[in-house]
């Protein structure tokens, strides 16, 4: 989490030339750090988030089983209860096994990896696209601005879930069948990402239009700096805070969008389930008594999205000078 905080802080030019040690001391004096350390909720949220990310990163090392290797599965392990051994195979399962005999604990860790990867990549993609288009739109203006904003309008016309479904359908249709499983994840990233860029573009465009009129930009213009240089070196740093807030909220949205797409049948492949796919599998067993297949993945998703949302919330307030 500290990592992200530093990034947030680097938006402030003050720190740019400082040596690391003194940066840390000065960082501890900032209002952001105060606001952070004084809120137990947000500290807890970041600890939970870091633990989840670590769990996902170290999944291959921690997980006791290899649920993504179909050859290693034994169907007879299906529906083993949590904290118990299967009556036929004597395999032990911490959080139980699902309908295919996969260890829920291992599958959650590996699924979390996929959900995080999809979510983060989708947001990075949306952010890059949105920031670039927003900058260009706001700074260059004219017909380019009009075209970009009308495309954004069209995009806003369709709800993100619908766009993702459409793109997923096309992407799937265009990929050769033997590459589909590998491509599925990328198509998912692309479609969720593409449905989120407008937020970034609109915000960055608005901020750019405001910045463009400021004296320092006009000064840059006068001394003959190139447009791109002005846009990326001078305007962009000033919108980083806002972009970061949107990115955090978009991350939570992207993770949930992935789960929703699984519900509509267009998520990650069932042989390598993400959290959303797992939840959708578990949903079938809500009435039949195998509660662990639904409960544990849902709690993990909740913990992930909630910690990201809480963090985003706090970040927005912390970066909003009007609220300080």
């Amino acid at each position: 989490m500290t990592d992200t905080n530093k990034k947030g802080a680097s938006a402030r030019p003050v720190f740019d030339d400082d040596a690391p040690a003194s940066a840390w001391t000065r960082w501890r004096d900032t209002e952001i750090w105060h606001s952070y350390s004084r809120s137990p909720v947000i500290v807890t949220a970041s600890v939970v988030f870091v633990m989840l990310v670590l769990g996902a990163l170290l999944a291959p090392l921690i997980s006791p089983y290899t649920p993504f290797d179909p050859g290693s599965l034994n169907l007879m392990n299906g529906f083993t209860k949590p904290l118990s051994a299967n009556e036929f195979t004597s395999d032990f399962f911490l959080l139980g096994a699902d309908d295919q005999g996969r260890d829920i604990f291992s599958t959650i860790l590996l699924g979390l990896r996929i959900s995080l990867f999809v979510g983060i990549s989708a947001v990075l993609f949306a952010m890059t696209l949105g920031v670039v288009l927003g900058l260009v739109s706001g700074y260059v203006g004219g017909w380019l601005d009009a075209v970009i904003m009308r495309i954004a309008d069209i995009q806003m016309t369709f709800p993100s879930i619908m766009i993702a479904m459409l793109l997923y359908g096309i992407g799937k249709g265009l990929t050769p069948p033997d590459l589909r499983d590998e491509m599925a994840i990328w198509v998912l990233i692309f479609s969720i990402g593409l449905s989120e860029w407008v937020q970034f573009a609109r915000t960055v465009r608005g901020a750019t239009m405001v910045e463009r009129k400021k004296e320092y930009v006009q000064a840059c213009d006068l001394i003959g700096l190139s447009r791109w240089r002005i846009m990326f070196k001078h305007i962009l740093p000033n919108v980083t805070g806002t972009v970061l807030v949107i990115a955090t909220i978009s991350l939570a949205l992207a993770i949930i969008a992935e789960a929703t797409l699984s519900f509509l049948g267009v998520g990650a492949p069932k042989t390598e389930p993400s959290l959303g796919t797992l939840i959708n599998v578990g949903r079938q067993f809500i009435l039949s008594g195998e509660w662990w297949i639904l409960l544990f993945p849902s709690l993990t998703l909740l913990a992930l999205a909630l910690s990201v949302n809480l963090f985003g919330d706090w970040l927005r307030d912390a970066l909003n000078p009007k609220l300080r």
């Binding site: 169907l75 295919q100 033997d178 049948g265 042989t271």
Partner: protein, 527 residues
């Protein structure tokens, strides 16, 4: 005076029992899908037929046990001319609108079902002519002798000819071309229930036809019938558990135990006329979805045998199907003419032997292949495929699973764009010939339209075609056995199981599961 009292008492008793019979017994009924149209010949699909059966009637009916019983025909037999079947029609039957049922209506309806826009025409493809002999006698002449003609009639509904013409539905609704006709929304049949109101995908209300000819023959206890489709299985089961519906179909296997345990709710069960199996492209020289270059691993019978052995059917039955299936080694439910215990036997699960077969065939290192699977058609279809992926992985076959809705899955089979697929096959005629025509005969314009194996065997094709006109049943059955022996010897398909149907009813209902999954509510009894 005394007499009067007795009479009054008797009248009282009588009126009480009359009230009992006539008291409003409402049945609230839910299943996953709705009827697509009320035009009785426009869609050949089970939920559509199910609702139609409550309002319309065929000449012959498959009852709740799957046995053919008289409906609008009381008697039927092949005449001395082997090509002509004679049907004696029921007398004194009236349509809901009050019109008399005669042979004209039967001729009209069967001819209507043979029109190009009808979805039922393949069932009557052997028919040359339908003739009225007198008001209550009908002749159906086939192009050659067709010993199984009556089997094809059980879902062919009879409508009133004048009413249909008046309502501009002399021809079936042309669904394919976006056609519409009033018969898609209104009905005029002879059946046990009349239509009251309908909103598609939401609610259909029927009420008892008090002029039905079968009153006194069938229980006919339901006076009002409310049908609601509920797609989401969890929502459907919830509605049943919370007492919002009295009768549900398409019960997920995982919820059977809970329903059976719940006070006031029962699960009723019967084997379904449907086999679930994997199909393989055995005919092409090379496959597009595999990782082997220049040859087709499925063309080697040893690979097919190895896969057949690698399938741990018992585990699928126990875990995925929760024991709600009947394992099988042949693509044929036990109801079907031609079924034997020997054919039904499946190879024991034996990974070692399967691996040996794989290396004999030169695929010791395995290969990769894509499996196409529906996810909204059969009971736990996707879970079955997923389980099979793990099982095939154990003999080195790396399967990529591609699961999708039936509307996208079936075209792959019909257009031969899949090399490895899951399919389920029901046999409405209850005869092996139907299976051979669709699944075994070489794919041609008229035959083998669901045979995606690309398997072709001219000698076998000749035998299959010969079945249609073989009137000597002993000879015919012998030919059926021979065809099955070839099919099984080739391991053309990898059968998994026959499905078991489960319906949920409240404890006050006494009902039986119909093997085609078509309940006839007129048989339903309240305890």
């Amino acid at each position: 005076m005394r007499k009067k009292i007795v009479a009054a008492a008797a009248a009282g008793i009588l009126s009480v029992s009359m009230a009992g019979a006539a008291s409003a017994e409402t049945l609230r009924w839910a299943r996953a899908g709705d009827s697509l149209t009320f035009d009785p010949h426009a869609q050949n699909e089970v939920p559509t037929h199910t609702l139609a059966h409550q309002m319309y009637e065929p000449l012959l009916l498959r009852d709740m046990a799957g046995k053919i019983i008289p409906a609008l025909a009381t008697d039927w037999y092949a005449t001395d001319n082997g090509n002509v079947w004679e049907f004696k029609l029921r007398k004194g039957v009236k349509f809901h609108g009050g019109e008399d049922f005669t042979a004209d209506d039967a001729v009209f309806s069967l001819k209507r079902a043979m029109m190009p826009t009808s979805d039922m025409k393949e069932l009557l493809s052997s028919v040359k002519e339908v003739r009225k002999v007198d008001d209550h006698t009908l002749h159906i002449e086939t192009k050659g002798p067709n010993p199984l003609m009556p089997n094809n009639l059980t879902n062919l509904f009879i409508m009133d000819s004048e009413w249909a013409v008046e309502n501009r539905c002399a021809a079936p609704q042309d669904i394919a071309n976006g056609g519409d006709n009033p018969c898609a929304r209104t009905t005029n049949g002879t059946g046990p229930f009349k239509l009251v109101s309908r909103v598609q995908d939401q609610k259909t209300v029927l009420k008892r036809n008090d002029a039905y000819w079968g009153i006194g023959i069938f229980p006919m206890q339901v006076t009002e019938l409310i049908y609601t489709p509920i797609q989401e299985s969890a929502t459907r089961v919830s509605a049943f558990l919370s007492g919002e519906v009295d009768f549900i179909q398409d019960l997920p296997v995982q919820d059977l135990a809970r329903i059976a345990k719940t006070d006031g709710l029962d699960v009723i069960t019967a084997a379904e006329n449907r086999t679930i199996f994997f199909g393989l492209n055995v005919g092409d020289a090379d496959l597009t979805t595999d990782t082997v270059q220049g040859k087709n691993p499925f063309a080697d019978v040893r690979v097919r045998q190895a896969m057949n052995m690698a399938l741990n059917r018992e585990a699928i039955k126990k875990i995925v199907m929760r024991n709600q299936s009947l394992l099988t080694g042949v693509v044929m439910p036990p109801f079907v003419n031609g079924w034997t215990k020997e054919l039904d036997a499946y190879p024991a699960w034996d990974i070692r032997k399967a691996k040996a077969l794989m290396s004999d065939a030169g695929y010791g290192d395995g290969f990769g292949i894509t499996l196409d699977c529906p996810n909204d058609r059969y009971i736990n279809d996707e879970a079955v495929c997923l389980a099979a992926v793990g099982m095939f992985a154990q003999i080195g076959i790396k399967v990529t699973l591609d699961a999708k809705p039936k509307a996208q899955h079936f075209p792959l089979i019909k257009t031969q764009k899949t090399d490895f697929y899951l399919l389920g096959w029901g046999v409405p005629t209850f005869d092996s010939g139907y299976i051979f025509n669709f699944l075994v005969h070489t794919t041609t314009d008229k035959m083998g339209s669901w045979n995606n194996t690309r398997y072709t065997n001219p000698e076998l094709d000749k035998k299959i075609v010969g079945l249609a006109s073989e009137t000597n049943l002993t000879k015919r059955n012998k030919a059926i056995a021979e065809i099955w022996n070839t099919v099984q010897g080739e391991t053309l398909y990898l059968p998994i199981h026959n499905q078991i149907l489960n319906w949920g009813v409240t404890s006050k209902i006494d009902f039986q599961v119909q093997p085609e999954d078509i309940p006839h509510i007129k048989f339903l009894v309240f305890k």
